[in-house]
Structure formats: C-alpha cells, structure tokens
Symmetry: C2
Subunit: 418 residues, 2 copies
C-alpha cells in the first residue's frame, strides 16, 4: 500500500453526545503520529460548513484544548442536520476537498451521516479522486447496525440510571401511596435509552426503581399500565416510571407528538411523560404525578459521562485514522465486544453502505414477559458500557470545557449557496 | 445550666434536598459525643410518623450508613407535607415525646416545618415538659429569613449552572440562528434557583449562556422577552433561557399553573417552560424550541452536590445538638457569613417564631437593569455556595447511597388516627 500524502478533514454531524468530542480528540491525536498527514482541518457544522468551505486548522489548537475535548459535551466543531440532496452538493464537497488536498475524511455521526459519507466516498471513486473516507459511530440512540454499541449511548444511560436512583431517594421519602414519578427518556423509535434506566436497580432487587419502563417496542396498554401502577403504589408507596418519548399505542400512534418533523423527516417528539401523567391522574383518583423531562441534558451531561464510553469514543477516532492510513476507505469503525465474561472492546470496520441502510433494534427477548422491565441478557449487555467516571476540571464550582480557537483556513473557492 | 438527660428525636420535613441527610448525619455524629443523650431516634415521615409513634433507632445504624448519609439524596427518614392543625395533634406529639423521654427534638425543614417545631416547643413550655427544640434549616428555595442561606440551595444551583453550561455546548453546536433552548428551574415564589444559573457564565463573559433568566420577581413582558430572544439569536445563533416555574405576568398570573394546591395551600406549578416555548414559537416564526424540565432532579442530584453546601448541612446538624446541650431551645440554627472577602461560614441561632413567619426575598437590586441577568452582588453572594465536589462511591457505574436498617422502637401508646 503506497502512502497517501495529504490533509485530513474531520466533521461532526447530527445530535451531539457527551463524548462525540472525544472522537475528534482521538482523530487529532492519532493523525499527529503519521507523517503522510500534513494539515488537520475541522469542518464547521458538518457538511454545511464543508459546502461553504468553512474549515478550521485543528493542528494549531493547543494540546490542552484538544485534551479537554475528551470531557467536553456538545460538538466542538458544530454540527448540522442538513441533508445533502442535490448532485451539485456532492460535487461541491469534492471541489472543496480538492481545493484543500483533503485525502482523509472522517465523519462522526449516526445513520444519516454515514449515508452522507458513503455517497461522498462513492463520488470520489467515480471521479478517480483518491480519498479515504472512514466514519466514526456516534449516537445516544444506539441504533447503528453491525457495531456492538455506539459511543454516546453508555453515557446517556449512565446519566439516566444515576438520575433515576437519585430521584427515587426523593420519591421514596415523599411517597405515601399516592406518588407517581415519571422520567421521560429520549428515544425516538427504540427503547435503548429508557431500557438502560434498569441499571438503577441493585443486583437481585427486581423491585427497586424504576418500577415500570415503557418502551416503544411494547404497545402502550392503558389498563395494563394503570393496573401495574396501582400494584406498585400498594407495595412501594410510590411508583417511578421511565417512559421513552417514542411510546406508541397498539395502532402505532405516538402517546404524544407534535406534527413537525426534522430535516430528515423524523417526527419531533416530546411530551410522552406529560401525556402519561394525565392518563394516570385520570385513571387513579387522588394520585399525585411529578414529571421530569431532562431532554437534552441526557446527551450533554459530560460531568457524569461513562469513562468506558468516553475512552471508546477516543479509541474509535484513533482507529479511524489508522484504518485510513492502512488504505481502508468507505468503512465505519465498529466496536467489537470480546467473547469472554470479562468485558473487552476492540475496534473493527464495516462498509458504510451497510451502516447507512441498517438499524439495530432492541432485541424483544431482552424485555421481560411483564413488558415493563429488562432481563439479565440486556443487563449483561449494557452494564459494561457505563463503567467508570471521568475526572473533570472544575473552576469556581462548575466544570470547565474546551474552547477551540477555530483559526479559519483560507477560502480558495467562490462562495456556494446552500 | 443543669445537664438535661434524655433521648433525641430527629425528623425531616417538606421537600428533600441533595444534602438534607447530611444534617441528620451531623446530628447523630454530634449526639454520640454527649453522655446526657441516651437514645437517638428518628421519626419516620416527619410529624406524621411522630403522631403514629413510628420511631426508629438511629444509634443502631452502622457508622458506614450514617457516614453515607452525607452524600445521599432524598430524606432517609422519610418526610411529609402534613400540617399539624388540631390542638389534639400537638398534644399527641407531646404524649409521644413523654412516652419515649424525648428531651431533644431536632426538626430539619423550611418555614412550615420551623412553624410546627415552634408550636410544639411552646406547648411543651405550657405543660412544663422540659424539651429543647432546635430547628435545622433546609430548603432549595433559599427563602428562610435571618440565615445567610439555606442548606440545599447551593447544590441545586450547582446542578443547574452545570447543566446550563453543558446544554449550552450542545445548543451552540446545533444553533444556526433559530434554536431556543429553555431550562425550567424550580422556584415557586422566588427566583433564587433560576438566578443561580448565572453561575454558568464565565467571569467577564456577560454574553455567555444563560442569555436570559426569567424570574418571578420581574413581571413577564412578552414583547420585551421576544425582542431580547431575537437579539440573542442574531448575536449567538442560539438562545438559552432559564425560566423559574413561578414566572408571573404583570397581573400576577402564573405563566403556567394548574389548579391544584399542596397541603399547605401552595399552588403546584410546572409548565412555565412549555408555556414560554409556545409563546416564542408563535412570536418568532421558524424558531425551534427545546424545553428541558429537570424537575425533582434539581433537588436530588447528589452526585453533583456542592461540597460547601453538604459540609454546611452537616455542620448545621452538629450545631443544633451543641446548642440544645447548652440549654438553647425554640431556635433554628442559622448560617452566618464572615465579613472578610474570603468566604467563611459559622452557625448562629434565631428564634423559631422569627423564621416561621418570615421570608427572604431575592433582593431586587441584585437583578441587572435589563431584568434578565444578575449583577456582581448576587454573584458574590452565590459563588461560594457551590464550591467543591463530593467524592461518591460508585458501584457498577452508578452511585451508591445509604440505606438505613430502620429498626423500629417499640410502640407504647394506643394507635392514633391521623
């Protein structure tokens, strides 16, 4: 394999996570080790900034700031939900790549982003422009296929499980048989995150909170849920429910939805917790309902990130660079779990096309027969993903996060209308 | 002062905080030092359990568990919002005290709880039953008079400021001039908590998020707020708003309220964030609004408690015992700030009656003229209260909290109908 001399471009796309910046740090740290790599650019706001030739010089950032990316939430390069549609858009991306001698393109994102990366890669091949494209997985939704799990998921789950355990202390103190506490978890079409709240239970304490987990995978049955709530109230004096925002009834209708959709045509959700609360207040007279809707906090609580997750996000960034240097292209880095009982994680590669068009569902046989709790198979899967705590720097009582200088690379092309 | 020989009873009342259990730990730790104290009882669920003679033996708990109370959220003894009304209730409380030779009563709570403690103390004096009653302040609302601040407040504010700084990273990455992010803060009638979100700003960076803080102290003016949001969106590409749940308009109507009230007649609120979001979506076409409503998480996020707050809560518990041993009664422990620039905190005492009937308002001259940000006087006040982080034990990725054995003391009285 001949060495490919040229520049690197990194982009971030889709909703941020607590650890997506750790992947940028991994890419930069690894890229610095390879002499065939000259410049390391970051594309601002994903493909949106690339189209507009908004590139920054990542090599000129201080090492401190790059290191701080490992515990900084959000997406330090900015992100977007813009979907490349027109052929013209793809051609513009390649023009920008050519203008800046980009030979290595790393795109950190979920399904839609890997699809975008795949199409850019294919166009470069058509045009005989030598380009190595490696995707880095990212999504709290944990729904990418092939990879065992996705960076970002473990931290979201660690936040949720911790929060449930903490709120449960509060609820237990207040509960006198009439308190229902609802925590609304993110999760558009799958219950991966809500299911993770099961980690709040101590081992061998199935009656620990969360008492009821409502997943999009199990059609909402009002009578059954009310019955379950009554049973828990009697036993525990309070009832803590975790509900996925994408909960649906037997006809597939969202418990709560507004009509709007995002740029990719996904329904924008929110309000399943409130809707459920109203149902419970109406169905069980005298009950008091408290609803917490942490929303974006779930994907930005870096102060409580899983160290395992954050380290794997960094590792995935490093692996992407090494794969590209070794001549790989049109692939996404995957996380592979070892076979032994003791959890280990290595990286692998999978074709972008396979990622872009697939989706990983929460296995139905990981849900207990009651439909509202998770079994040991799920717990065995998810437990290792939340291990360990990051040590963050605090200044005056609040965590300090990275702030990139964002030195702009000179633009060399005419402006482009997005 | 003759030594008063007898037993201790500790109770917790009202909404829990992240550090209310640290005060119990302080009381137990200090009580063990004094030979005149024989048994240390905990009353379950505040006065409700005391009425029903539901007492537990705190001295028989392991030292590990008592120590773990220092980082455990909720109220380990249970709490209540039950208000003693009838004379008969107060007399029953004294009967229970007499039956168990309770000579030291420590009640940890807010205004209503201190009022209850005051009345019990007065009745004991009328009946010539020697009893020392010392209140320990507790409320995330920070609205108790006389004391400089209240245990629980600092941790709520540290959680909120951290969350705002983290969500801001996410919002900044996503913002393209059309993103409004709203975080709804607790705060029934005062903006103490919402105001504390100002600590998310770096020193000398007034444009840092939160860009707009909406307090109950400043009547909501729709046009003015929309104008401010437009200005911030233009400048920052996103706008992060912290809104207190008790926000009111010029006529004193809550922005969002439901009709129900709690046992003390306070309106139960929630939904100011959603209501504000609707106003902004209607007023600024094309804008996307995301609302986070952490709810009870704000008062239970012990993993992010302020060490200063948690230490002071412990200290207040210790001080209560020492004051009672020294013959004080019918007082509440207060926190006194030293005069020097370097923050110091000592405890003092104030008559319960003064606490019960007073309320500490957020000084209006701590709010900037713009009505949506806080000035240096507030920051100087609040900054010391969020300093330091507790070190929590984690097991399998989630924090481990205290679990009391709760060995019941024998009941000696006939049952009492509450």
């Amino acid at each position: 394999m001949a060495e490919l001399q040229g520049n690197v471009l990194v982009g971030q796309s889709g909703g941020p996570t607590s650890v997506i910046n750790a992947s940028v740090a991994g890419i930069v740290a690894e890229a610095l080790n390879h002499e065939c790599i000259e410049e390391i650019y970051g594309g601002l706001n994903g493909v949106l900034g690339i189209l507009q030739e908004d590139l920054i010089d990542l090599a000129s950032e201080s090492q401190q700031q790059i290191r701080a990316l490992r515990h900084t939430p959000g997406a330090a390069l900015g992100t977007c939900r813009y979907k490349l549609k027109k052929q013209q858009d793809f051609e513009r991306v390649l023009e920008v790549f050519k203008a800046h001698n980009i030979r290595y393109f790393f795109y950190i994102g979920g399904n839609d982003s890997q699809d975008t990366a795949d199409k850019i890669s294919k166009l470069a091949q058509e045009q005989n422009y030598e380009l190595r494209v490696i995707g880095v997985p990212k999504t709290i939704d944990n729904d990418l296929p092939v990879t065992d799990h996705c960076p970002g998921y473990g931290s979201a789950v660690k936040y949720l499980a911790t929060t449930v355990r903490e709120i449960a202390c509060d609820n237990e103190a207040m509960g006198q048989g009439d308190l229902v506490s609802i925590v609304e978890a993110m999760g558009r079409s799958a219950g991966w995150i809500a299911a993770g709240a099961a980690l709040a239970k101590r081992k061998d304490h199935p009656h620990d909170p969360p008492h009821i987990i409502l997943l999009p995978e199990v059609a909402f049955n009002q009578e059954k849920v009310l019955e379950e709530v009554r049973r828990v109230l009697k036993r525990e004096k309070y009832c803590l429910i975790v509900v996925a925002e994408g909960l649906v009834d037997a006809d597939g209708n969202y418990l709560a939805a507004d009509a709007s959709t995002d740029a990719f045509g996904h329904a924008r959700l929110g309000g399943a917790g409130d809707a459920l609360g109203e149902i419970i207040e109406a169905g069980i007279p005298g009950v008091k309902v408290r609803v917490a809707r942490p929303g974006l906090i779930q994907r930005s609580a870096a102060h409580l990130a899983s160290k395992a997750d954050s380290d794997e996000a960094f590792l995935a960034g490093q692996a992407a660079v090494r794969a590209a240097i070794n001549g790989e292209t049109d692939k996404m880095v995957t996380l592979l779990r070892g076979e032994s009982d003791h959890y280990t994680c290595e990286t692998g590669l999978a074709p972008l096309g396979e990622i872009a068009n697939g989706i990983k569902k929460l296995p139905l046989d990981w849900i207990n027969e009651d439909g509202v709790s998770m079994n040991f198979q799920f717990l065995r899967y998810v437990q290792p993903l939340i291990q360990g705590e990051n040590t963050l720097p605090y200044d005056n009582g609040v965590p300090v996060f990275a702030r990139l200088e964002k030195h702009r690379a000179d633009k060399t092309l005419p402006a482009y209308e997005v």
